[in-house]
Amino acid sequence: MFTPHTDAERKEMLTALGLNSIEELFSDVPQQFRFPALDLPKGMNEMFVREYVEGFSQANISTKEFICFLGAGAYDHYIPSAVDSILRRGEFFTAYTPYQPEISQGTLQTIFEFQTLICNLTSLEASNASHYDGATAAAEACITAYSHFHGKRKKILLSSAINPQYREVVHTYLSGIQDIAIETILDDQNSLPDPFAIEGSIDENTALVMVQYPDFFGRIYDFSNLIEKSHQKGALVCLIVNPIALGLLKTPGEMGADIAVGEGQPLGIPLSFGGPYLGFIAARKELVRKLSGRLVGETVDKDGKRGYVLTLTAREQHIRREKATSNICSNQGLMALAATVYMSLLGKTGMRQVSNLCYQNAHYAAQKIAQLDGFKVLTPEPFFHEIVIQCPTSVEHINHHLLEEGILGGYALESVYPDLKNCMLLAFTEKTNKEVIDVLCDILKESDHD
């Protein structure tokens, strides 16, 4: 299927090559391994495969029919239909990396605009063209910091209020670097880990201090002091940010951070069971040569017309090979396009609006839940759009209840923070409005009674 050749054409081609059969082309393949049988189901045409694949999709419950209070790194935002209509354009989705700028200005200018939006969102000066996801972007930021100090500073400090999956990925990514030390101070005094607990560990050996904002529990802090202290010790600071929060909140740049990374999924990218998403990395301009991934820069063509090219490619694997800043090649081009279209559509007004809706809905919910018998809101003010609530029974029990009423309940924290028994992390967006929150609270109230 999808091969246009007719038998006659194949024959003509073979004849031109002086061959009798296609098999002869594979004589270099060791005979005993050649042409193995493949135990796969028989191929289907499009009509049947559609039915077959739809069968899988229908075996899921989705946020189309269920209300979703799950967050913890992926958020159920509304995606304007204009976004996908651009993504469906063959000129975008069937092109590859813009190696040939003369016939790739569409992709190049889009990336350039993406970089600009990310810089303006974070108040930093240089953004790359995208990274795999928020977690890997965070890991790359650690490598950036490590190599910024030429490997001479060997400590990476991670706040324990960083998404645990992100911390895991940082550990995995850095596991090839022998002498690096990753520290996460777990402060078990408090029910929710203290993001400032790492402060005491910042020293002259620290390459990077990394915190999350809003943190994994939804809390927001002004990290300006922490950043200043880090800088006093010569360390760099990276904030892991939620881009929707930055519609309203003080930015990494405003706080003095050196690097900001994050997950761009909330910017018009479907949940899609976890991917493909969109990592972004922005930094102060001094760090640009240490950044991973592609960068697009403005220039002119031979007639002086404005245009864009991939630039500083000497950092990258295809030029620099084993000395590259990262091995990344394909990144998340189409997802960066989605985010660029989304941010362009919303613009200044819309970004503030969606940010405010998330904030307001979360605060309303927190107030209502706090009044429910047996429930406690652990996330203190100020917070953005996620809260931790402690439930009177197990999260599993409650979620089961919610599911029966068409609601996907929160994320059970106990699996990753064993101290947080019966705690769930709830996320709110512009889709979880008053009516929906009221329903949630009604069910929570009932679920206590059985």
Binding site: V49, P80, Y96, Q105, T172, T311, I328, S330
Partner: protein, 487 residues
Amino acid sequence: MTEPTIYELSSPDRTGFLFQEPNVPASPLPKDLLRDDLPFPEMSEIDVIRHFTRLSQLNYCIDVGFYPLGSCTMKYNPRINEEMARLPGFAMSHPLQPIETVQGNLALMYQLQEWLKEVSGFVGITLQPAAGAHGEFVGGLIMRAYHRSRNDLKRTKVLVPDSAHGTNPATSSMSGFDVINVPSDERGNIDLEKLKEICDDCVAGLMLTNPNTLGLFEEHLKEVIDIIHQKGGLVYGDGANFNALLGIIKPGEIGFDIMHFNLHKTFSTPHGGGGPGSGPVAVAAPLIDFLPSPVVGIVEAGDEETPPLYGFINPTQSIGRMKAFYGHFGVLVRAFTYIAMQGADGLRNIAENAVLNANYLKHLLGDTYSIPFNRNCMHEFVAEGFWDDAPGVHALDVAKRMMDYGVHPPTNYFPLIVKEALMIEPTETESKQELEKFADIMKKIAQEAHSDPELLHNAPHNTPLGRLDEVKAAKELVLCCWIPPEE
């Protein structure tokens, strides 16, 4: 006409999406934690659609014509894939939903794992890697973890042939290894003698691309693998070129220990202007426990009446998590759809026709372009983009001139071991007519290179922009169209 940027198209107070007012009682915003102005553009929906529609028209793409970018397998991206990935059951499911509510997703991933293992001859697999290079990184870390688990700490080196893609050495060093180059012989194979010389018990493994980046099948494949294995090393297969091998050979059977797939190459998922890719990694039995966590497995066996319950399993000696969640699920759905349509026969048919196309095109060009290592190629081949009797004309000039004829140039200046390389991968979805048209264009350009070299030097002529000044871009480093001026 150059397209204005979104900031140039912006006008104060405009917006392209109207949100509702909150319908909850207002909570005060945290005063000390608010940002200053948000310097974002302000456009209406029509502005945005027009801008990106016009931008799109400045791109070349598979949907418009031939795109023989070597090593990238720019085959046709079937439209049904796009429909399937957008089904709400898939696209609107949250990664942290209870597994009972996403059995469709998990069953699909499980099935895809089985299929990929079957076509490659391996026994373990992870779908987590986001792209080929990410898969390589997984492979590098698995090598490392494997040797360490056996307390074999001396293995600090990874061998990489000189024809390898840049990601191979970059990956090796990211994984903490020293990179040792292995030269090629005059037939484009690994230089066996040199390999034996270099290979010792400090070698963690070899990263081998087969067919290699010259498009050639390694003629001493078994020997190469054996040499590494004899010294206790592992053989990593860069599966970027797996399109040539579907139903032709199972790498796991001949002795590869690890291999990554590029679903966005072999399995027809779109390249998206530079991603998203997907780079599942398959391994041989001794390495299964090192796979990144989690992998999809059956957590409760089924029976006649009930299907099994699918869920996540953490391998016992896992290298850890490589990204958030489970991989590029949307890309997996596309690849799954494609394999389901092809079946066993379809897959072999793909490899056969990809290889036939490359050989036929090589044949058509053989008289005009010099082709080093000229033997039967697999899915691609490398020609030289220069002629002794056309001094001053370079591969780059040939490439740029192709654009004037409405085709995408091949990969150029890679692999590094060929002078002025033009790396041509037609893929199986191009017709004989398309190949012939392309060959005619390349021959025409070869003529022009001799008769009118300036035509090539100044090419392209018919594109939205002419050649761009890359030096200026790197020197001035303008990376944003608009940043608010400091006050």
